[in-house]
């Protein structure tokens, strides 16, 4: 115990740095996947078969294969197979590759949630808008969007919480997120070696962060409770 207390400042500093990386990946994934998911959702609902089928095919592939493999493919495929290492081997390259893989993966999951949300708004809402002389975009933004958001907040919350934990998968391509930061004390780093507790300790970061996220999303859900 005494040893742990002595190691604590060094470990915390390391974990904090790792957590900042985790946070960056988390935020950029959301920023990318929210809009991209909507685009994919519209694609998978398109009346144009040439758009609908390929989109659904891609969603099927992405949802049907492990994110870990997708990370490996995104990171290594350009360099090892195409002999065009677009990402480079440095930390920035690993980070960029992670962000790209996560955005693609999560956008596909989000698209299915969006699709469910859009299709759950009764057709009568659209017809009422049309009869009142509204344009399609007015109907989407002024009538359907909020109803859709209300319906997708609970399933979206699940995905967001899963994403917080999934960011740890980026460890597989050497992205220096919090798991990586905890794990390095096993081999040895800054005079600490053979310590596994820092790795276990990372769980606390995830737990607290997810607690905050759940609270915020719960508030949002409450806020949307004013209508049914």
């Amino acid at each position: 115990m005494e040893l742990i207390m002595k190691q604590m400042p060094i470990v915390l500093h390391s974990l904090n740095l790792g957590f900042i990386q985790t946070l960056k990946l988390f935020i950029l994934t959301l920023l990318g996947a929210f809009p991209l998911g909507l685009v994919i959702a519209f694609g998978s609902m398109s009346r144009v078969k040439l758009l609908r089928y390929p989109t659904r095919f891609i969603v099927w592939i992405i949802r049907g294969t492990p994110l870990m493999i997708q990370l490996l493919i995104v990171f290594y495929f350009p360099g090892l197979v195409l002999h065009n290492p677009i990402w480079g081997g440095g930390e920035l390259g690993r980070f960029t590759a992670s962000v790209v893989a996560f955005i693609i993966n999560y956008a596909c999951y989000f698209s299915e949630i969006y699709r469910g949300g859009i299709q759950s708004v009764p057709i009568g809402q659209e017809e009422a808008g049309l009869v009142l002389g509204m344009t399609k975009s007015q109907i989407f933004f002024r009538v359907k969007l909020l109803q859709m958001i209300k319906r997708i907040v609970p399933p979206m919350s699940n995905e967001v919480i899963t994403l917080v934990k999934d960011t740890s998968l980026a460890r597989i391509i050497g992205f220096q997120e919090i798991i990586w930061a905890g794990q390095k004390f096993m081999k040895g780093d800054q005079g600490i070696s053979g310590a596994i507790w820092p790795l276990f300790f990372t769980a606390l970061y995830y737990l607290i962060f997810n607690g905050v996220i759940s609270m915020l999303l719960g508030k949002l859900e409450k806020k949307l409770d004013f209508f049914r």
């Binding site: 009568g124 809402q125 009422a128 009869v131 009142l132 002389g133 509204m134 004013f226």
Partner: protein, 263 residues
């Protein structure tokens, strides 16, 4: 003055012909009731008038403007349809109020969006918005909903919701207001308040087309009655004719089912 002239409208869904050669006309300030059993095409007819469905054949004229002619693609430009729709208002069976807006916001929304397209909107914004609000307040008062204006739809009874929906349709001042079974989704105790509002509109000479299963109401409020059966107009005329001096056997059968409701 003839405000609406419908000529030879036909409409099929896949192989099923839902409307077969429908023709009728409507005078300004008159009320037309459309009766008939479920599946006879009444709702589809209203939806054609409101451009929610496109007829396969036929012509629709309002105030001498040809809104739709199946043989003339120039009348079917999507960009024009939005403007043409405004000749008609439609009150749905299931209200279709926008749940995230209060009652009065439901009434104001469409007109506010419409005015935004006006070039002078920016310079007269405040005045326009005040105008829209005072019109909406007037309509809510007319519907007897002054103390319910700021409630959300889920806080209102079905009858109140339907009255908001009527106010919402009236806010755009349509030439012809259409009702698609406005009381069919209501508890029997609540139909009265909605029918009373529609009667009030009839007294004010609002041009209306009402699809309804309330036979007594159809007879009392209408100047003209159409009986539809299997996509056709089987019988039409003044209410006293259709109800009192029924010509067709099919109409008689249909009306007989409502006899015990004391027509």
């Amino acid at each position: 003055m003839t405000i609406l002239d419908v000529q030879h409208i036909s409409k099929s869904f896949h192989q099923t012909e839902v409307l077969k050669d429908i023709s009728f006309s409507l005078q300004q300030g008159q009320v037309l009731s459309i009766i008939g059993s479920s599946g006879s095409g009444k709702t589809t007819l209203l939806r054609c008038l409101n451009f929610l469905e496109t007829p396969d054949r036929g012509v629709i004229r309002v105030k001498d403007e040809t809104l739709f002619d199946a043989d003339d693609p120039m009348t079917q430009k999507p960009s024009e349809i939005r403007r043409k729709r405004l000749h008609f208002g439609l009150v749905f069976q299931s209200f279709n109020l926008f749940p995230q807006y209060t009652a009065i916001e439901n009434v104001m929304l469409a007109r506010t969006l419409l005015e935004k397209g006006d070039p002078s909107y920016k310079s007269r914004k405040k005045q326009i918005l005040e105008e829209i609000r005072s019109q909406a307040e007037g309509l809510m008062e007319q519907m007897g909903l002054t103390n319910r204006m700021n409630n959300y739809p889920h806080q209102l009874s079905g009858g109140q919701c339907q009255r908001v929906a009527i106010a919402r349709a009236l806010a755009l001042q349509p030439d012809i207001l259409c009702f698609d079974e406005p009381t069919s989704a209501l508890d029997p105790e609540l139909t009265g308040e909605v029918l009373k509002v529609i009667r009030g509109l009839a007294e004010k000479k609002t041009t209306m087309i009402i699809v309804t299963h309330e036979m007594a109401f159809a007879r009392d409020v209408a100047n003209h009655v159409i009986f539809m059966d299997d996509g056709r107009i089987l019988e039409q005329g003044e209410p006293t004719e259709v109800f009192g001096n029924t010509k067709e056997e099919r109409t008689r059968q249909f009306l007989a089912r409502f006899q015990n409701e004391q027509i």
